[in-house]
């Protein structure tokens, strides 16, 4: 978080209890919570307001999701829940569904931007006149992509965002058809982040709750969004912080909801919605954590208070450009149930091994095996008697640093917690992921 910039996170106010709109689904949520907690005799019962009071006076007890594992082992869930107020999480991995809304301000005469390139990378302009959306995976039209297989994808949307946050000058070339109210038809200029009105990071899907472990069963090296995969299962790449990952520590989304204040890109952000492809219905283990990719979050935050260190442009050989996003969520320890969730360790978290030669791209076959994050992080896994070296795409060192930073912000009273204004869809929503219909457009649909 940059100094001197104010954010609601720094102003500690007594947050009101969440006001739920009594729609059917929210009512269901509450009934679900009551039914679930009904049979349980919870001895610890802490409110967000109580936690915030302690944060204000510098008395909040905070641990990272990594540190808390030992604490719970030593003290037991109940005693740990009685003493600990907040557990902080973090993750720093490639997250393609990320981007930034910009309002670049009007030139004189005014312009209704139509075709726009930022450092050569196209931005979407199908909204108001000088509003834009720049996506992390956007590529310059002249990028040879995979015509030069495997393509380098040396500079894309994620790199422009990193340059923006770094304070670098961004060249903007744009054209427009011109109107009576917006007469300018062409502009070639440059701007810095500080010179434009708004830059709002809005990531439609981040923080995947678990992810595939990618291997290649094929006869030659392949180049994927999961990195370079050597032939015949030469390596296995995974991408989750495991025990530090936000949604692994709140598997059923009992504390994380719409409006949850978080660490985003080195600054402060918020959960706005469930992420795209949100799939809380995924199969779960006994500890309620999913054993395949499941819940996701949509996130928002002011880019102007973020840091380039936690928003990094990436080039995946043969796949494309994207962005590595650093984010972390504080979990309020409301009771011993939440404490138990936060005490999960890599041994208890399992990921599916998936073939990216045929399995993933052609939807052939299922998972090859389930492996624990403890095994993945040890450096090798065993599949069908074969020892396979593992590597991560998500930086665990980065996740650790984010969780530690968030912990420090809370301990020093710079960051207070928010109660969600509405819950995110969880198990009870019964969400099923759809595949795209592939109809023949010539054929009239028969009703």
């Amino acid at each position: 978080m940059r100094k001197g910039l104010s954010d609601p996170g720094q102003v500690l106010t007594k947050s009101p209890r969440p006001i739920f709109l009594m729609t059917n689904s929210v009512l269901d949520d509450i009934m679900f919570a009551i039914n679930n907690g009904g049979g349980l005799q919870l001895k610890v019962n802490r409110s967000i307001e109580e936690i915030n009071e302690k944060i204000k006076t510098g008395k909040a007890v905070v641990f990272t999701a990594e540190e808390i594992i030992e604490v719970v082992k030593e003290k037991g869930t109940e005693e740990a829940a009685a003493t600990v107020d907040v557990v902080t999480t973090g993750t720093f991995g490639p997250m393609c569904s990320s981007g930034v809304f910009l309002n670049v301000g009007h030139p004189s005469p005014r312009i209704k931007l139509e075709e726009v390139y930022l450092n050569g990378v196209p931005a979407y302009s199908g909204i108001a006149a000088v509003d834009l959306y720049l996506g992390a995976t956007a590529l310059p039209p002249e990028d040879p992509a995979n015509r030069n297989y495997p393509g380098d994808f040396i500079y894309g949307g994620g790199h422009v965002i990193e340059d923006l946050v770094s304070g670098k000058e961004i060249r903007m070339e744009a054209s427009a058809y011109g109107t009576d109210c917006y007469p300018l038809k062409k502009i070639d200029t440059s701007f810095r982040l500080s010179e434009i009105n708004e830059a709002t990071l809005f990531n439609p899907r981040n923080a995947y709750q678990n992810y595939n472990v990618a291997v290649n069963l094929g006869p030659k090296t392949i180049y994927t969004y999961m990195g370079v995969l050597k032939l015949n299962m030469g390596n296995a790449n995974y991408s989750s912080a495991g025990q530090l990952s936000p949604l692994f520590n709140d598997p059923l989304l009992k504390t994380i909801g719409i409006g949850t204040r978080i660490f985003l890109g080195g600054g402060i952000g918020y959960v706005t919605w469930h992420g795209t492809q949100h799939n809380p219905s995924a199969k779960r283990a006994d500890n309620d954590t999913p054993v395949s990719p499941a819940a996701t979050l949509a996130l928002i935050g002011d880019l102007k208070q973020m840091e380039p260190r936690w928003l990094r442009g990436l080039s995946f050989l043969g796949y494309g450009a994207t962005m590595q996003v650093g984010m972390g969520v504080p979990i309020p320890i409301l009771n011993e149930e939440i404490m138990r969730y936060c005490s999960v360790s890599d041994e208890d978290l399992k990921a599916p091994v998936v073939d990216y030669h045929r399995g993933y791209p052609y939807k052939e076959g299922g998972e090859l095996a389930l492996v624990s994050y403890a095994d993945l992080k040890s450096g090798s896994i065993n599949i069908k008697g074969q020892k396979i070296p593992t590597a991560s795409l998500s930086s665990y060192a980065g996740a650790r640093e984010i969780a530690a930073t968030l912990k420090e912000w809370i301990e020093t009273g710079h960051f207070s917690l928010t109660a969600p204004s509405a819950p995110l869809p969880s198990l009870e929503a019964g969400i099923k992921l759809n595949a795209l219909p592939q109809r023949d457009p010539e054929q009239k649909e028969v009703k």
Binding site: N237, R312, L317, P389, S395, A397
Partner: protein, 141 residues
């Protein structure tokens, strides 16, 4: 005894000379070729480990220079930009010599220049492009 990993850069007119033969025959050196990038009438590169008597090694280096070859230490060829590295670890399963290694429990990446054989696989396997090379033609392959 001396043991050195070096890179020899051949100007185009020397590519077809039997340089390695002379290193072995005239200077009694042991030659272990790590990687070669030699094309007719183009500048060539040879990454190798030389070992032998100190005096012979010094004389061989002098002789190579007299022939017009450029000699560089192997460890200066690939640069790990630690400021760009995000410590994910993607490179560590691609590096064939464990020059790029993953340290546990720190969960960080480290680079041992001496183990590097300049295969350059890491240059593009690193999503954050934290690996760089000084060799000018590396990116134009």
């Amino acid at each position: 005894m001396v043991k050195q990993k070096i890179v020899l850069r051949f100007p185009p007119h020397l590519v077809e000379q039997p340089t390695i033969y002379h290193l072995i025959k005239d200077f009694d050196l042991m030659v272990n070729i790590l990687r070669a990038d030699i094309n007719p009438k183009k500048e060539g590169r040879l990454m190798m480990e030389l070992s032998g008597e100190e005096l012979n090694y010094q004389r061989a280096v002098e002789w190579l220079k007299e022939q017009g070859l450029r000699i560089m230490g192997l460890e200066q060829q690939i640069i790990w930009r630690s400021d760009r590295c995000t410590h994910c670890g993607a490179c560590t399963v691609i590096c064939p010599t464990e020059a790029l290694a993953f340290n546990r429990p720190e969960m960080t990446v480290s680079f041992d220049e001496y183990k590097c054989v300049v295969c350059e696989l890491c240059l593009k396997a690193c999503p954050a492009r934290a690996m760089e090379t000084l060799v000018e033609n590396a990116n134009s392959r």
